[in-house]
């Protein structure tokens, strides 16, 4: 029981963090028509900027300032990079984001070094919030939950309930039409790209100290965010949410399941002392998102909620 409760709670937090990254990525995909390989790099940039800002001032300033700065960098990248490359077609765009990812990675190494920085959970949130089944639960995780839930509600409200949100959605599907109705589509695209990057930056701010802030964090997070977006259905925010929660729960539950393949498939004769039988579910956890990706692409190529084939 306690394992389940903790797995659910941790899974939901991890899922919401994944959604924070994948919501931006899926909006940007709708806009460009290609996946932005550099998306996780903006997540890393958010974490590093938050580290530096926290050193100089406080975590609370970093919480607001770092996403804004990352969003600003994103807008510049769109305005002076992607917009020009876009004219050359999708392959050029894809390669551009690929190059950008490495560029940001290398810049991070130059400015902050090759090893992890000491970006820590702020002291004021570094205490056990409650005790459950005899185990203490860190307050910071609940803080992440709140920030992510707030972002989720704000994003939903902006996109579904405001005119600006309607214009954004319309511009993503029919940019020419929206332009000829008098809306500045290039500006909308720049803002969407910037906002998507800012969300990734925010995930970096609150995730960087929860996990580790090192130059490998983008490479570790990037593929999982891709999986979320493809499994959810390219361009679908609802799908990204479902897939993020699914993968969040799947991975955290798998880690906490104390069973081996032999325990599960023992009934068909898989022995606990065989090489295959010895593999534990926990050790398979990192593989699960990619297994899901491969299966989804085979069974339902447009993803859970998507309306276009990959």
């Amino acid at each position: 029981m306690e394992t389940l409760v903790f797995a659910l709670l941790n899974g939901a937090i991890y899922g919401l963090l994944l959604f924070m990254l994948s919501s931006g990525l899926t909006l940007i995909f709708s806009m460009m028509g290609v996946l932005n390989f550099a998306h996780a790099s903006f997540y890393m940039l958010g974490a590093y900027l938050a580290f530096t800002i926290t050193e100089g001032t406080s975590f609370w300033i970093a919480l607001f300032l770092a996403p804004v700065l990352v969003g600003g960098v994103g807008m510049l990248v769109e305005r002076y990079g992607l917009r020009k490359v876009h004219a050359q077609g999708h392959v050029a765009e894809l390669l551009f984001t690929f190059g950008l990812a490495y560029l940001i990675d290398e810049l991070v190494k130059i400015f902050w070094g090759r090893t992890a920085v000491n970006y820590r959970v702020p002291e004021i949130l570094d205490f056990p919030l409650f005790t459950l089944y005899g185990a203490q639960y860190p307050a910071y995780r609940i803080f992440i939950l709140f920030v992510a839930a707030f972002m989720l509600v704000a994003l939903w409200y902006l996109l579904k309930k405001t005119r600006a949100g309607l214009i954004i959605q319309a511009a993503l599907s029919h940019p020419h039409m929206v332009g000829s109705l008098g809306h500045n589509v290039p500006l909308i695209f720049m803002t969407v790209f910037g906002a998507g990057c800012a969300l990734a930056g925010l995930a970096g701010v609150i995730g960087g100290n929860y996990f580790v802030t090192d130059p490998a964090m983008a490479v570790q997070m990037g593929p999982i965010v891709f999986v979320v977006v493809v499994v959810g259905g390219l361009g679908s925010l609802e799908g990204a949410f479902i897939a993020a929660m699914l993968i969040g729960l799947l991975q955290t539950s798998a880690i906490s399941i104390n069973a081996s393949l032999a325990d599960i498939f023992g009934f068909i004769g898989l022995g606990a002392d065989t090489e295959l039988g010895e593999i534990t579910i926990a050790s398979m956890a990192p593989m699960l998102p990619f297994l899901l990706l491969v299966l989804i692409l085979m069974i339902r190529p447009r993803g859970l909620m998507g309306d276009r084939e990959v």
């Binding site: 020419h176 929206v178 332009g179 000829s180 109705l181």
Partner: protein, 240 residues
């Protein structure tokens, strides 16, 4: 409408060319629309009528001169053209299917702080077909209703001239008539119209002047009364 009061054309195309890759689609189009005029642009499929509309809106790169209210707009970003007062209803009727009729209309408003002469409620009252479905998803509308919604949405932006591309394409005869009546209503409200149309009955009923296109250029221009006498033009450029 008296043309003498404002002799400057609302829209003037001079030697307009356009290309799709290497194929030369518009071959020097000359055309003008005076304030308050309804112009029908006729011609067979593939002669460049829709391309003319797209070149005006900048969706196809225009080569030559496109002047709107005296200002050169060729190659301008389409939102800037729209903000000058030029509305465009494309052939593809790009409605937003998951949004409601009301939300679709809301998208046509360019600036919420400066409302135009049409309000959403007036529009829904004027066109009861849409009024009845105001809060339904636009995706469930019929083809004719979608066409009306697209036109109403563009009107929400308060255009002085509206380009309507093939509004009756693929619609049943009865609906064609309704759409025709609606275009006449728009004209009555004082909006100039460039109507790209194939159905002569609609075009001749509404238009003040008629242009016929053939092979990427204008081959005839005149009043509907004169056009009625030009069997030769009809035979050569319109009949299949």
């Amino acid at each position: 409408m008296s043309l003498d009061a404002n002799p400057e054309p609302m829209l003037q195309l001079t030697d307009l060319h356009a290309y799709y890759g290497k194929s030369h689609v518009l071959n020097g189009v000359n055309l003008e629309i005076m304030p308050g005029e309804v112009i029908a642009l006729l011609g067979r499929n593939g002669v460049g009528r829709s391309t003319t509309a797209k070149a005006i809106m900048g969706e196809v790169v225009p080569v030559g001169s496109v002047r709107f209210k005296g200002q050169e707009i060729g190659g301008m970003a389409n939102h800037r053209i729209a903000r000058l007062g030029l509305g465009y209803v494309p052939e593809s009727r790009d409605i937003f299917p998951t949004m409601t009729v009301r939300q679709n209309l809301m998208l046509g408003i360019k600036n919420m702080r400066r409302p135009g002469k049409w309000t959403i409620d007036q529009m829904l009252e004027m066109f009861p077909n849409l009024g009845r479905r105001a809060d339904n998803a636009a995706g469930v509308l019929s083809g004719g209703e979608k066409q009306m919604l697209t036109m109403c949405r563009t009107l929400m932006g308060d255009p002085e001239l509206i380009i309507i591309d093939e509004p009756t394409e693929g619609l049943a005869p009865l609906i064609v008539q309704q759409v025709g009546e609606m275009i006449a209503e728009i004209a009555k409200a004082g909006v100039s119209i460039l109507l790209v149309e194939q159905k002569l009955s609609i075009a001749l009923k509404i238009a003040d002047r008629v242009y016929v296109m053939g092979h990427g250029e204008i081959v005839y221009g005149g009043t509907p009364a004169d056009f009625a006498t030009r069997e030769d033009i009809r035979k050569e450029w319109l009949e299949v």
